[in-house]
């Protein structure tokens, strides 16, 4: 019974993506990874981490790391403002916050509408993205949550 329920639950989330923006580019993240979206909160700096790991935050008693999506994508840093928010995701039972410029909407993208990225694309992007979708003439890069959020040393395992 439990299995049926979670199956059903998963089905209703199938093909749904949360769209966030960095500069003018749209990115999509599978909704099944998303726990909640919160405003920016005080971040504690953690020494000895990759540059894109901004630190850790206290989310109601849970300590979770936050990474800056811009810096992860090697884009120039921008000052955080009131539209900046943190997408709290759960990936393989790890909670990780992703700092993005702002989130716009939740959309359904069917599998057929997703095209793979060209092989010649820059290496980093190949790893981070599952493909690109064309939705009403808007191009959305679909993020591969696991490689995006996990530090490189872990993906090497």
């Amino acid at each position: 019974m439990v299995e049926n329920f979670s199956q059903e639950f998963e089905d209703t989330m199938k093909d749904m993506y949360l769209i966030f923006k960095i500069d003018e580019q749209n990115y999509g993240i599978e909704i099944k990874y998303v726990i909640e979206i919160i405003g920016l909160m005080p971040i504690t700096y953690v020494p000895n981490q990759e540059e894109y790991v901004k630190g850790i935050i206290n989310l109601r008693g849970k300590i979770i790391p936050v990474i800056d999506a811009r810096m992860r994508l090697l884009k120039p840093q921008k000052e955080y403002n009131e539209r900046t928010c943190v997408i709290v995701t759960s990936i393989n039972q790890f909670l990780v916050g992703i700092i993005v410029d702002h989130v716009s909407e939740v959309v359904v993208i069917e599998k057929e509408k997703i095209s793979p990225l060209p092989q010649t694309y820059e290496k980093i992007e190949e790893r981070f993205f599952k493909g690109v979708a064309n939705l009403n003439d808007k191009l959305i890069l679909l993020v591969d949550c696991e490689t995006f959020v996990m530090p490189d040393r872990l993906t090497a395992f």
Binding site: V2, E3, T44, V46, V53, I56, I63, I64
Partner: protein, 633 residues
């Protein structure tokens, strides 16, 4: 899949099964020590095996229930005096092997592993049977018809389902002729009927009345039970049995999932933080005259108490760990033919559940060493003028924020000459006078430093005391050896009460708050720049006749350099881990408080010098300094 693993029924089964196996073990050890009669053991073991059989059959673990069934058969024979053990010691050893097997099986089930094969168990059971004398079997086979009426405890609902489970279970033991209401399987209405009129079962069996009643002992929801050989009502019977059953079902303990306890502790932690925010709120802080101030004081007392109770829920007495040690001693002493008396005290001392798991293996190792290397053979003891029976003392006690566990034997002690010889061989020391007694015993904690020449069944498997020391250090504990020739050896282990809460000093480094565990601080002091000796860029400080390294926390965690700041004086904290010491350089000391340790998210890179983090009253995160790794630098 995750959800299924956490099936509460399964968890309850596992924890109950473990408890049963523990009780079995305890019973057999009591028998070994003559604390209890064979009759009492037989009926206790019968009861335990029976319960385990029932619940494992209900969960569909048929292998397990089959083994229990066979064990039950054996104890029925023992109880009814149809058989008695030929050699009690051997019988007990075999029983303990059976307990091990069950433990292993349950462990496999818990870990969702393929269970171990049953071949082994057949051997054990055959041997068990062999160690029993057969008596003549002349029990009458006359069957009696019983009419049983059950009433369930209220408020649990689904009476029909529970009745069904009982019927299913009874089928294993007796012939069921009839039950009423009979449509319990598919008619939900029958639940109401059972609630009102009770559930009637008619059975036929050669068993005695008391034995039939025993069958029902294991169903936890029965409020009262009435058993008649005719259908007539007997008020007296009813009262008698309802009293009896009420006694059986009162239980002061409940099993709680440790995750739930952790969650509770987390929530209370959050509450503490939120509460301190309320107290700090300007509207409340500014209002000195209102009653709110008094209320907050009262509230903070309540919260502190709540926190203490929640923490204590993680604490378990050491008794079951000591029980295991005792069992190992009993088993080994029989096999090695070294009679040993075990003296246990302080087993009620409580320790955090996680810590208990970590110290059990080291303790077992030490106990094994004590019998194998420490206690001499009987003849050797007599020659030395000692009593034939060796002694092992296991003791635990609380001492401040630590628990001290000691294991002492009155054996031959550790041979210092041998250690010195080995140390010279390994070129750890240059001459015998080179090393103090304390340091000498510390040598045997080094990897590959075993003084035992031959390997036996119990030692010499390549696992040395270094592993013991490591696992104790891992949980922040310390271990010390005292030993003298022909008098005995004593291992003393000190461990912190709980891993979750420590006393810490809050310090400021470059505007960031860090926590330094209080137990590593020796002293704090001010000094001027002129007191620093800087040789090859390594800053040193001279204090009380000793020279210490200076560890600049600003330099380690940030890119700053505290000594380059121009200050009238600097703040140093002398820290030690028992072996090494150093002076930490900090900007400021803030306060001292109890902190709840949290682990850092696993996906972060490991940070040298930091062991975890904690939440401060303001909701701010502070890192906990790892003194050991700071001293390594």
């Amino acid at each position: 899949m995750n959800e299924i693993q956490k099936d509460p029924m399964f968890e309850i089964f596992i924890s109950e099964a473990k408890e049963i196996v523990n009780s079995l073990e305890r019973t057999f050890i009591d028998l070994k020590e003559n604390n209890i009669s064979l009759d009492a053991v037989a009926s206790e073991a019968l009861r335990l095996f029976h319960t385990l059989k029932g619940s494992s059959a209900m969960m569909g673990f048929n292998d397990l229930s089959e083994v229990c069934h066979k064990a039950e058969d054996i104890f029925v024979c023992v109880r009814d005096r149809k058989m008695i053990p030929k050699d009690l010691d051997e019988f007990i050893l075999n029983m303990l092997r059976l307990v091990d097997f069950l433990n292993c099986q349950i462990g496999c089930l818990e870990g969702f592993e393929k269970s171990v094969s049953n071949d082994n168990i057949e051997d054990i059971l055959t041997e068990l049977n062999k160690s029993l004398h057969e008596f003549v079997d002349n029990v009458s086979k006359k069957e009696t018809r019983y009419y049983i009426k059950l009433f369930f405890e209220e408020g649990w609902e689904m009476e029909n389902l529970r009745a069904f489970l009982i019927v299913q279970n009874l089928k294993n033991y007796v012939k069921i002729l009839e039950y009423q209401p009979s449509d319990i399987e598919n008619n939900m209405q029958s639940a109401e009927k059972i609630k009102k009129d009770g559930f009637l079962i008619v059975i036929e069996t050669p068993m005695k009345k008391e034995d039939v009643l025993k069958l029902f002992e294991n169903f936890a929801w029965i409020k009262n039970i009435k058993l008649n050989e005719t259908l007539e009502k007997s008020v007296q019977d009813k009262e008698e049995y309802s009293n009896q059953s009420n006694i059986n079902y009162t239980n002061k303990l409940i099993n709680v999932n440790i995750e739930k306890v952790d969650k509770l502790i987390d929530l209370i932690g959050e509450m503490v933080i939120t509460f301190s925010m309320i107290v700090q709120h300007p509207e409340i802080k500014g209002d000195e005259n209102s009653g709110i101030k008094n209320l907050t004081i009262q509230m903070s007392k309540l919260i502190r108490e709540l926190q203490e109770v929640a923490m204590s829920m993680r604490m378990l007495p050491l008794s079951s760990t000591f029980q295991r040690l005792k069992r190992i001693i009993v088993e080994m002493s029989t096999k090695l033919q070294k009679p040993v008396e075990v003296h246990i005290s302080g087993e009620e001392t409580e320790l955090d559940k996680v810590l208990i798991e970590h110290i059990t293996d080291p303790l077992i190792h030490i106990v094994r060493n004590a019998i194998d290397h420490g206690i001499e053979s009987q003849s050797e003891r007599l020659q030395k003028g000692k009593s034939k029976v060796g002694n092992i003392y296991i003791n635990a006690k609380n001492s401040g924020s630590e628990v001290i566990i000691s294991i002492q034997d009155d054996g031959k002690g550790i041979d210092k000459e041998k250690i010195i010889k080995k140390a010279l061989e390994k070129e750890l020391i240059s001459s015998a006078d080179d090393i103090s007694e304390n340091d000498l015993f510390d040598l045997i904690f080094l990897p590959g430093f075993s003084t035992k020449e031959e390997t036996t069944e119990y030692s010499g498997r390549g696992v040395g005391l270094d592993v013991v020391k490591n696992s104790i250090q891992k949980i922040g504990g310390k271990i010390v050896i005292e030993s003298s020739k022909d008098v005995g050896t004593k291992f003393t282990i000190k461990i912190p009460l709980t891993l979750a809460i420590i006393d810490g000093m809050l310090i400021d480094v470059n505007g960031n708050i860090f926590v330094l565990p209080l137990n590593s601080i020796v002293e704090t002091f001010r000094f001027e720049k002129t007191q620093i000796i800087s040789e090859n860029g390594v800053p040193l400080i001279y204090r009380r006749g000793l020279c210490f390294n200076i560890v600049d926390l600003n330099r380690i965690f940030f890119t700053g350099n505290m000594l380059s700041k121009i200050k009238q004086y600097y703040l140093g904290i002398l820290v030690t881990n028992g072996e090494k010491s150093a002076v930490l350089l900090v900007d400021n000391m803030i306060s001292q408080q109890q902190i709840v340790i949290k682990t850092l998210p696993a996906i972060l890179k490991k940070i040298k010098g930091i062991s975890g983090c904690t939440l401060l009253g303001s909701g701010q995160i502070a890192f906990i300094l790892d003194v050991d790794s700071l001293l390594e630098r």
